[in-house]
Amino acid sequence: MATSFTPGLRVAKNIIVRKERRLPLLGEVLVKSGDTVKADQVVAETKLPGRIFPVNVANALNVTPPELKEAMFKGIGDQVEEGEVLASIKSFFGLFRSEAKAPIHGTIESISFITGQVIVQAPPVPVQVKAFVDGRVIQVFSNEGVEVETNGSYIQGILGLGGETLGPIMMGVEAPNEVLTPDKLTPAMKGAVVIGGSLLRLDTVRRARELGINALVTGGFHDGDVKQLLGYDLGVAITGSEDIGLTLILTEGFGCIDMADRTFELLKSLEGRFASVNGATQIRAGVIRPEIIVTRDGEELQVETVHTGELTEGQTVRVIRNPYFGRIGKVTGLPPELTLIPTGAAVRILEVEFTDGERVSLPRTNIELILE
């Protein structure tokens, strides 16, 4: 096929953004279609079933499972306190008493007269889902959640660590090729989403945590620092639940890589505005990217071009692999035939002219489109 499609990350000034906010289990939706919601407003809640603790009461009492019928003090559905006696039996002419006690506070879920196992369930754990963005409820999924719509800037990163957070955008650097060092962070940034440039190191993350900064956004970050931060190697890019004290978003990748101009300029123009940030990433089938959303209600919407999936001459692309990693250029040729590259492989290539006029050939798989 003559087409090639490598979708890039989305960086949009003002578009319609829709977010589905669903509960992990069925529960109650607290808002209705058409309601205006704030980012930190709870829109749905439920109770997760409590943890389950089986106790082999028959073993504890040294009786056969059918004999439990005589020994149990409690029945299915009964509430028990931690340490409360569930069953007991007298032995040795009534001189001794064996008891089985509840391991936790909870409810008796089941009693098995086959295995002698009694299952105690802890009280349910409440779970709430917030709107995450300022917007309007456009759809209610009965007992499950809602879809919230907003107009706003939408910026995808390539990889994130940590989950959802909120805060005003503050610039930590002046230019996209600048390194965000710890001395550039100030106490005034507490609770903010701080924007860096080409790199930040572990010491900056530590300082940001001390200052109570909610999120850091950077072009590049070293893989070795990720290991130090997490305490383990990030084996697969499925993230979002890390407990690192803040949310970290990489817009370009691992190493020292200038943040793309467009991303940097857009974030700069949003300084002082309130952002919803989520580091959750999943690079597998059904890709999830980390994102930064800033509501811009009442401002003119940008017309989004629907991408047909075709790579054509004149499009702007960014190289995503060595030796030209991070460079941006325009497609000048798409030869259809297989071409030999320096590794010795014959692959489909494209010709690119970089912004400084240099022209190179690259495997088509090694670029991403910059969606205008």
């Binding site: 389950i52 089986p54 070795g224 990030l234 697969v236 995503i320 692999r321 590794t343 492989a345």
Partner: protein, 595 residues
């Protein structure tokens, strides 16, 4: 049944759907052409058949023939259009993900794992009564993992009754399936037959329960086929029905007379491996290294085993190879001086941009270094899993008392391995075939005489499902168009510090002498003339063994009909080579058979 002459087969992978056309040409089944298109299980399409139609359309364009009438495959052929059969495999949407439970971790739970893996599943976790985890931890795990299916076993027939406790745990967890919410989770019980009624009472209300024959009726014997067949049926009935577009695809896969079930991709590859081992009466190891996972298959003395290393792969899981193998194990294969930080970042960037390919020689060297480690680790896992049944009582003679062998010995005997087959992008699409051979030798460290081959364009899955429909077509295409014979690797077992490790002598077809003496710690490639059988005598040093015993010469006919040649590896078994090995870089240069 109508005679089958033209077959269209697709494999719906997580990223690409591959279509091949097989046809009878002059009495032989041959691959005609291959087409591919992106898989379309995700938004905005959410219909796997779109990708299938696109891949078949590419086959139409390449052959200038018509196989589709709208969205339907034309079956049977009419007016020169259409095919006799359309078949498919699938691993899209994450394949089949199962959880397995058994009473004793290395007995029934291990047998159940073997059944699930053999059916083509990814085993997410194995729960056993004696796995050391507390009951509430097991319940949390069952809730969290959301498998597509659970296989519960435990107890020989009339033996242990602990499977009931496991059933009670599963009931308490009340697990929900991964895909869709409108159906009950399929659970298969294949344990102690006496407990079937109790298990039914416990699990029927919360699941779609199926009961099959005990997969370990007695300790000495496994009976895995009923469980495997049930897994395949349930995969079709439940899991596939939930995946986007699969009900349409299931209606499409058929001959003129009957429907042909879709098979999980690894299950299909396992079938073709077994077919080839059976037909040639040989021992085979096959590997498929993908972006996210690496599958290893082995057939030794007719016993089939498969393992999936779920987080060893070349793109999505590439950073996990670094985590598991360690930086220095990867760097030991790299000839240039790369900074550790740079290498880590390169690997991380491949993980987050998985579709990219190396453009420079250095990048290729790094990628192939990672592949060696991924393959090595996956093979270690396979060897640990492919073992004789554990827990079997053995009759011992007085001589056994001196050789304290336990039950559970590995079935993978390297000196008895005849054929090693590699597939997956990094092997099948290595720029030069000799690079694939080099990676296979470094990672698997074959011993004795081992033929090496690669799958030319990764069509083993389609051929696997074809074995169920038309075994002759599958094996003919496998031999002629799928397998590319790289050559033979000769590697004596044992270590020799210095001197001549191996003497090779014989005559080629044209009468020329083929006499070579190979020193120790060498990796050498000899090109051979294209003759089917070149009789050679291989004489190892006194401390080395080629399969006939230490120092014993072996006479073998080596095939010259291959694309690489005869690879002689005297680097020693066990192979000792680390990043700290003295003269590492010059050794790598010396061993480079690719230049």
């Amino acid at each position: 049944m109508n005679e089958i002459r033209t077959i269209l087969a697709t494999d719906c992978g997580s990223t690409t759907t591959k279509a091949i056309l097989i046809e009878q040409v002059e009495g032989e089944y041959r691959l005609i052409v291959r087409g591919e298109a992106p898989t379309t299980v995700e938004a905005p399409f959410e219909d796997v058949t779109r990708g299938v139609i696109n891949a078949i359309t590419e086959v139409e364009e390449l052959t200038k023939r018509v196989f589709l009438d709208g969205d339907e495959v034309i079956i049977p052929p009419r007016d020169g259009n259409g095919v006799d059969a359309y078949i498919s495999t699938s691993s899209a949407g994450g394949g089949l993900q199962m959880m397995v439970a058994g009473v004793v971790k290395n007995m029934t739970a291990e047998s159940a794992t073997r059944a699930a893996l053999g059916a083509g599943a990814i085993v997410m976790d194995v729960i056993a009564s004696n796995d050391g985890r507390l009951a509430h931890e097991k319940i949390d795990l069952i809730r969290k993992l959301r498998p597509d299916m659970i296989l519960l076993s435990g107890g020989t027939d009339g033996g242990s009754e602990q499977a009931i406790e496991l059933a009670e745990l599963i009931k308490a967890a009340n697990p929900k399936p991964r895909l869709g919410s409108g159906y009950n989770l399929p659970i298969i019980y294949g344990g102690n037959a006496r407990l079937q009624d109790i298990i039914r009472d416990t699990l029927e209300g919360i699941s779609a329960l199926s009961i099959v024959d005990n997969l370990r009726p007695v300790l000495e014997r496994e009976n895995l086929n009923p469980a495997r067949d049930k897994i395949h049926d349930l995969f079709m009935e439940h899991v596939m029905q939930q995946a986007p577009g699969y009900s349409k695809l299931m209606a499409m896969t058929r001959t003129a007379d009957k429907q042909v079930p879709i098979m999980p991709t690894p299950g299909a590859v396992g079938l073709i491996m077994q077919a080839i081992a059976e037909e040639e009466q040989i021992n085979v190891v096959g590997v498929d290294i993908g972006g996210a996972t690496t599958d290893i298959f082995s057939v030794f003395d007719g016993t089939f085993n498969r393992t999936v290393s779920a987080n060893l792969g070349m793109s999505y899981s590439v950073a996990n190879v670094l985590a598991e193998a360690g930086l220095s194990n990867i760097l030991r294969w790299v000839r240039s001086d790369i900074e550790e930080e740079d290498l880590r970042n390169r690997i991380g960037n491949k993980m987050i941009r998985p579709t990219t390919i190396p453009q420079t020689r250095e990048e290729l060297m790094v990628e192939q270094a990672i592949a060696r480690e991924a393959l090595r680790l996956a093979f270690i896992q396979h060897r640990e899993f492919a073992v004789e049944l554990k827990g079997v009582q053995q009759e011992r003679t007085i001589s056994d008392a001196f050789e304290q062998s336990e039950s559970g010995r590995s079935l993978v005997k390297m000196l008895e391995l005849d054929l090693l087959v590699g597939s997956g992008g990094v092997l099948s699409h290595a720029p030069r075939r000799v690079e694939a051979a080099h990676m296979l030798v470094d990672a698997f460290l074959p011993e004795g005489f081992t033929r090496l081959a690669v799958d030319s364009i990764f069509m083993m899955p389609q051929l696997g499902v074809l074995t169920e429909l038309h075994r002759q077509a599958a094996t003919e295409v496998f031999r002629k168009d799928c397998l590319i014979h790289l050559g033979t690797c000769i590697a004596p077992r044992g270590i020799l510090r210095s001197g001549t490790a191996l003497k090779i002598s014989g005559k080629l077809g044209d009468g020329t002498d083929f006499n070579h003496e190979i020193g120790t710690n060498e990796l050498q490639l000899f090109k051979l003339p294209e003759e089917p059988a070149i009789e050679l005598i291989f004489e190892p040093a006194r401390s080395l063994d080629l399969g006939a015993g230490k120092g014993k010469p072996v006479k073998r006919a080596i095939s010259g009909e291959c694309v690489v040649g005869l690879i002689v590896d005297t680097r020693g078994r066990p192979f000792q080579f680390t990043r700290e090995t003295r003269d590492r870089q010059s050794l790598l240069n010396k061993w480079d058979i690719c230049e």
